[in-house]
Amino acid sequence: MSARRLVPVLGLCGLAVACTSVMQREPAEPSPAQVKAVLASSFQAKGQAKLDRLDQDELQKACSHAGEKPLSPEAAHRIQAEELATVRYPQGGLLGDWKAGEKIAQTGTGKQYNDDPSQPSGGNCYACHQLAPGEVAYGNMGPSLYRFGATRGYTPEMQKYVYAKVYDSNAFTACSNMPRFGHMGILTEQQIKDVVALVMDPKSPVNQ
């Protein structure tokens, strides 16, 4: 890549002085293929984490640039529409068991190479969100969800939104820090329903 890029640069630049800044910056930025090659030579498969986890999907590619320059509104809208189209809603109701949801919210294991793949993954919601008031050790990467259902209303539309948000956070916020729990197969359909219940069941401690 660098050779192909350098040739026209050299051709255009007659004066060395005019070229200096271009010439110095040009080889600095590694291409996606170069980054991938370095990663491929630096990781080894372990447990359930095989080397294919280094392969980025289109969303991960787009969001790896976001750290340096923000997405354009058009790109963000396109990503959100594409991700929303992947959400698979269950047959029947969306509210599971909030007690099971609380356990999922407290569990941080799952999908790491040292985790037992026969055990269900957790959602680790408390790592980033305030939920039930009894748990004071909550993080602040995401917004507080305390009294989410009580303040937003226990409507079917809101249930559907929460289900989709947990299933694929990027359907509403492109390049969100929140994992796509359904899209990536981290949580099962039943587990997502249980998490929806934790947030949306009027009896859940989250809504007290």
């Binding site: 030579s41 990781f43 986890r53 280094l54 969303l59 969001c63 602040n140 990536m184």
Partner: protein, 272 residues
């Protein structure tokens, strides 16, 4: 005159303190308690034991060639340990590569002591009840940079290349959870549960965090190296295992070290 000024300054400080108490949240008092706990731990830093063991290992005749590491060139000339860590990673002529401390120690163990690369890289991190030479050597060499500001060169094209690659890797999101380094370390005032997360793209925060590694981890009863720290981050990112002294690990260290440029080394520090 001097007294009047001192009184005025004290009064101003008192006001500032009162204001911060009045507006402070519970989180701040928790953070203060954690700071106190850290300060208490730092008074009696168990890392000293690793440093002493590392110094002895540095001087001990080891390996098939039965020689010490005292002729090892960490970048400031053969045998110069003082200040070497604060200027790493760096490019080394003899290998034609950018090396961090751990990879340079491997190079010296192979070239000087006659170990095979596999032997030199074996068991890089202590396990339960098992001490390893690498941790001790890292503790010793890094301790010899205490009080010295981080100054990492990007003058050589390979140093610049490593920095740019490390930056790309920092922002690289992947695996099942879409996590990259940037997910936890790209914004200010964030925490996981109650653990504060430094924003490593911000020079002031990067200085504070980077200069405290390697560190004695109270929760593990071990001195942990920067290589270990990166390895454990990628585990939690759900990536495959980051290989010890791999090109990606060294590039990432280069990015972190350069962002922390000017920070004064305090490693090995004490961590929760």
């Amino acid at each position: 005159m001097r007294t009047a000024r001192a009184i005025a300054a004290a009064a101003a400080a008192g006001l500032a303190l009162a204001a911060s108490v009045a507006t402070g949240e519970q989180k701040d008092s928790t953070a203060q308690e954690i700071e106190k706990y850290r300060a208490a731990l730092a008074e009696d830093n168990p890392a000293e034991l690793w440093e002493a063991r590392g110094e002895a290992l540095w001087k001990e005749k080891r390996g098939p060639k039965h020689v010490s590491l005292e002729a090892c060139d960490l970048g400031l000339g053969p045998g110069v340990v003082k200040g070497a860590y604060a200027a790493m990673p760096r490019y080394f002529e003899d290998t034609g590569k950018v090396e961090d401390l751990e990879s340079r120690l491997v190079t010296c163990m192979v070239a000087l002591q006659g170990f095979t690369p596999e032997q030199a890289k074996k068991n890089p991190f202590a396990g339960p009840g098992q001490k390893v030479p690498m941790d001790a050597l890292v503790a010793y060499v890094s301790s010899e940079s205490r009080g010295i500001p981080v100054h990492v060169s990007l003058a050589h094209p390979k140093e610049r290349e490593a920095y740019e690659m490390g930056k790309k890797i920092f922002f690289y999101r992947g695996a099942t959870h879409d996590f990259g380094c940037v997910t936890c370390h790209g914004a200010n005032d964030k925490r996981i549960r109650l653990q504060d997360l430094p924003n490593l793209t911000d020079p002031a925060q990067a200085r504070k965090a980077y200069t405290s590694w390697p560190a004695y981890r109270v929760s593990q009863g071990e001195v942990r190296s920067m290589q270990w720290r990166l390895n454990d981050c990628f585990r939690q990112q759900r990536f495959p295992e980051l290989e010890f002294v791999s090109p990606a690990s060294i590039a990432l260290s280069m990015y972190l070290a350069k962002t922390a440029e000017g920070g004064v080394m305090s490693a090995p520090a004490v961590k929760r």
